[in-house]
């Protein structure tokens, strides 16, 4: 059992299980993989031919990619023991901003995307400043921001959708619109030639890259350590020399920035920016993070977990859609899966439940004896 830690000359023997132990939590909890496999199995069993089609799977991920990107940002915030409810609205605002930049100003996509990220980051800074300097609970602050950003979005668009497929005088898409659409329309693949003849569908690429980048930030960087410390025990973090205020503002800013990045992708995917785009996405994002093992109490969560959580929700949407389950039941099933996933991640909870049940019976018996 416990032993005084030795200087460990036998590094060769200790390294293998040590590395494994380090790697395992990195990929999220085992339970979420089981969930993933289960859903996959159901998909194959019911609609195998359509489900396994590569187009279907890419489309499924593409459909969820913007929410997956939001989930990454939300995960950062959740690890610091905060919550970001505003990401859906921020994404909506960014998608509207992107569409208007394209439609009204014919801006090239390489300008639109960074600008949208800046806009999102600016909203994120406000969220961060509100929760730190003004000491508003993040739930309240970002709930207010959800409302504010949505209102601004609708005001900006005058409650009308703005299309992103802008036809030039020749009836074809303008070059800028063409390029913009490659952000999210199936078939408009990027890196064609570099990644083979078909290239890759951009939302899938973006989601993967965002996951990898933020996984590295969380697991390798000092800043990542600081995020976990702030969520685990803010006082201890401060006394360890960490600038807690900075860390909190930074994670809200990053979350806002990622929402800004998801905006143009979502607009391109739907070929237009709807004033209500992204409505409710924050809940899917939070659900993905939670299924992936993040705890709203803070200090816990990984990007790998969130990635798996996103895939579960993606495939779930897809499988249920293919099987023509009604939207209403889809919502019920999705909610149940969140509860199920969270309980599965708490073996202590299951054990406690079992103990309590056995005690109940034993106490009943002992009182009966009297």
């Amino acid at each position: 059992m416990t032993s005084v830690l030795k200087a460990a000359p036998d590094t060769s023997g200790a390294a293998a299980p040590g590395r494994l132990r380090r790697l395992l939590p990195l990929f999220g909890s085992l339970q979420s993989y089981i969930g993933l496999v289960l859903i996959f199995a159901v998909g194959v069993a019911t609609k195998g031919d359509i489900f396994l089609d590569q187009t279907n799977l890419t489309n499924a991920i593409g459909n969820f990619a913007s929410r997956g990107i939001l989930a990454v940002g939300v995960t950062l915030v959740i690890i610091t023991a905060g919550i970001d409810l505003s990401v859906g609205s921020l994404m909506g605002f960014a998608s509207m901003a992107a569409a208007m930049m394209l439609f009204h100003h014919d801006m090239p996509v390489w300008q639109i995307v960074p600008l949208c990220m800046l806009i999102g980051a600016a909203f994120g800074v406000v969220n961060g400043v509100g929760t730190t300097w003004l000491r508003i609970q993040s739930f309240v602050m970002t709930l207010a921001m959800l409302s504010i950003a949505r209102g601004l979005d609708r005001q900006l668009s005058d409650n009308a959708s703005v299309g992103t497929t802008v036809a030039g005088s020749d009836g074809k898409l303008t070059p800028n619109s063409e390029a913009f659409q490659s952000l999210g329309t199936p078939g408009h693949n990027v890196l064609v030639g570099i990644l083979g003849p078909d290239g890759i569908y951009f939302p899938v690429l973006a989601f993967f890259v965002v996951c990898v980048v933020f996984h590295l930030v969380l697991s390798r960087s000092r800043f990542g350590r600081h995020i976990y410390a702030v969520g685990g025990n803010p006082t201890a973090a401060r006394l360890s020399g960490i600038n807690v205020t900075f860390v909190v503002i930074a994670v809200f800013t990053l979350s806002g920035m990622l929402a800004g990045f998801a905006g143009p992708i979502d607009a391109a995917y739907s070929a237009s920016a709807d004033p209500m785009a992204g409505n409710g996405y924050e809940l899917d994002a939070i659900a993905a993070a939670v299924i992936g093992g993040a705890s709203l109490a803070g200090g816990k969560g990984t990007i790998a977990g969130t990635f798996v959580g996103s895939l579960i929700l993606t495939l779930l949407d897809n499988v249920l859609g293919l099987n023509a389950v009604s939207d209403n039941w889809q919502l019920v099933i999705k909610g149940s899966i969140v509860v199920f996933a969270v309980v599965l991640q708490r073996p202590d909870l299951l054990g406690g439940l079992r103990r309590r049940l056995t005690h109940r019976t034993r106490t009943d018996r002992s009182t009966e004896e009297k």
Binding site: M1, L5, S221, Y228, G232, A236, G241, N243, K300, H359
Partner: protein
């Protein structure tokens, strides 16, 4: 088998109690007997099984092996409600009060007297609370919110809560770990009052001197088994330690004799004045110096401002802490904990769980948290291998018992957690180590190890400033002891009789309670304090003086404004030689 002979059946008899947790055999065949009116001390190192045994008694762990008898009747305790029905109450080390509720609401929490309509009969509740509190000699308005009560008062409120339940057996887990000596005496008086009424007490504490004073008999646990039951009066401290540790412990305080510091002080503080914004006790004009290799202690009652001095030096109050500071002769302005760590200070905070550790995270994560800069690449990522090597070295040096570096720090025992906190501080390679209650609530083996570590660090040239509520610890470990009372210095004692008054418990306590003199004087000035330390800044706590605005400026270059520092404290023999500031 009881050492205290009595005829009537014991109040409580636990026989052959066993309990297993997944992978751990926590208790094995433990017996515990408590008679009416008896104080039974339960002694053992952390992890010996004391808490498990008491949690079984309190109904927290419902499934256990063995039998429990209350007044000769076999009983089954499967839930806290069962325990309450048999008149058993437990006061946990971490108090279970709701800070936002009033004293009365806390005492009657869950059992509020109600009218027929279901509303709470507030008046009656408050009257009965006042009665209970008066019985304990506690003068706190029943309507005051518990968060405004001091720890010692909260402790007694817990006792009142237990008494309102018509308790026959009261378990107190480390009731004095957060109390200063005077408050301990008061609590003991209350305990004697309870035993006179026939209440049995199980008293868990690590402080042997306290047990000698209050306990009738003692039961010692080690590794989940009972290693001895003795009458307290006939048992020597050495024997108890042997029963607990399983080996004789010859040196709890390994401190070498005081050596006159030959070097200039590493840390000097002049006229430290701070009024913490969070309502913690204020500090008025405190002067102190710590030389490399020196251990300086700060004694005082609860609320004397001991921790606040450390926190102010560590930058926790930022520039709200006024005064003049130097580190190695250079001007130092406390700005933030991060700045303090970069300047070579480290703080072992008072409450390791709340202030020092991220409990859900690993030993490695916690140990390296303050020193990540040391392992950083230019890309601001962490060099994992170097980090692991450095942490492992510290774990070995401190003899931390942990299954591995990747295990959660929350699962370690208190002593090992404290060692991780120390490792975290030491990894920053501090020149000045500030320690606040370094051995609170940890077992005697770990305590001796931590004392030895402090001695070793001092020998290596670290300057140590230590706060402790345990006077024997301060007297045993410190070269000098400063006594604080109501935020002012009221005494200074030495280990070496040649250098000043010698530290003994009576003298320190007298100095620590000098507040009676202060309380008699109007609160406006420091006139009541026996000795006014320092010049200028200390005299006027509130209005911002010229010196204060100096301190607020961050530039290290204008250190020459600190020339007033030649007013060295009276008993302090060495002079200050502020070096020329660099840059």
């Amino acid at each position: 088998m009881t050492t205290v002979g009595r005829v009537s059946p014991p109040l409580l008899a636990m026989r052959g109690i066993g309990k297993s947790f997944p992978g751990v055999r926590a208790l094995n065949g433990v017996d515990l007997t408590v008679h009416a009116g008896e104080v039974v001390a339960l002694l053992g190192e952390n992890g010996a099984g004391k808490s498990t045994l008491m949690n079984i008694l309190a109904g927290v762990h419902g499934d256990y092996e063995g039998t429990i008898e209350c007044q000769g009747e076999p009983v089954a305790i499967h839930s806290p409600r069962d325990a309450a029905r048999h008149g058993i109450a437990m006061i946990h080390q971490e108090l279970n009060l709701v800070p936002e509720l009033s004293v009365a609401e806390n005492v009657f929490l869950g059992r509020e007297p109600t009218t027929a309509r279901g509303t709470v009969r507030r008046k009656e509740m408050e009257a009965r609370t006042a009665e209970l509190l008066a019985g304990l000699g506690l003068d706190v308005p029943p309507r005051r919110a518990v968060k405004h009560c001091r720890i010692a008062e909260q402790q007694l409120i817990e006792v009142a809560k237990a008494l309102s339940l018509d308790v026959r057996l009261l378990v107190m887990d480390e009731p004095t770990s957060a109390l200063a000596d005077a408050e301990v005496r008061r609590l003991h008086a209350v305990i004697r009052g309870l035993t006179a009424r026939g209440v049995g007490i199980v008293y868990i504490s690590h402080r042997l001197e306290e047990l000698e004073e209050i306990a009738d008999s003692v039961t010692v646990l080690r590794d989940g088994t009972c290693t001895g039951r003795r009458a307290m009066a006939r048992t020597s401290r050495a024997e108890l330690v042997r029963l607990m540790v399983g080996r004789p412990l010859d040196e709890l305080y390994p401190r070498r004799p005081e050596q006159a510091p030959s070097t200039p002080p590493r840390l000097t503080v002049r006229g430290l004045t701070v009024t913490p914004p969070d309502g913690s006790p204020a500090v008025h004009g405190v002067d102190l110096t710590v030389a490399p290799g020196e251990i300086v202690g700060i004694a005082g009652l609860m609320g004397a401002g001991r921790s606040e001095v450390l926190q102010a030096v560590f930058g926790q109050y930022g520039t709200a802490a006024r005064g003049e500071f130097t580190l190695d002769g250079r001007r130092y302005v406390p700005r933030s904990p991060g700045h303090a760590i970069r300047s070579g200070l480290a703080l072992v905070a008072e409450d390791r769980k709340a202030q020092s550790l991220v409990l859900g995270n690993t030993v490695r994560f916690n140990s390296s948290l303050a020193a990540l800069r040391r392992f950083a690449t230019p890309w601001r990522t962490v060099r994992r291998r170097r980090e692991t090597t450095a942490v492992r070295e510290q774990m070995t040096a401190l003899a931390v018992r942990t299954p591995g570096l990747e295990n959660s720090v929350g699962l370690l025992s208190g002593g090992n957690q404290q060692k991780v906190v120390l490792a975290k501080c030491l990894l920053t390679r501090p020149g000045v180590l500030l320690v606040d209650e370094p051995t609170r609530g940890i077992d005697i083996g770990a305590k001796a190890q931590i004392h030895a570590l402090m001695d070793r660090l001092a020998a290596q040239g670290t300057a140590i400033l230590a706060v402790s509520s345990e006077l024997p610890e301060l007297i045993g470990m410190c070269d000098r002891i400063l006594v604080l009372c109501e935020g002012r210095l009221t005494g200074e004692f030495h280990r070496d009789p040649a250098r000043g008054p010698v530290a003994d418990q009576e003298a320190i306590l007298t100095a620590a309670m000098a507040r009676h003199a202060v309380a008699a004087a109007p609160a406006a000035g420091p006139a009541g304090a026996p000795r006014a330390h320092g010049a200028g800044t200390g005299a006027a706590p509130r209005p911002p003086s010229g010196t204060a605005s100096d301190a607020a400026s961050d530039t290290a270059s204008d250190a020459t404004s600190g020339t007033a520092s030649d007013a060295a404290p009276d008993t302090d023999s060495h002079e200050l030689h502020p070096k020329e500031p660099r840059s």
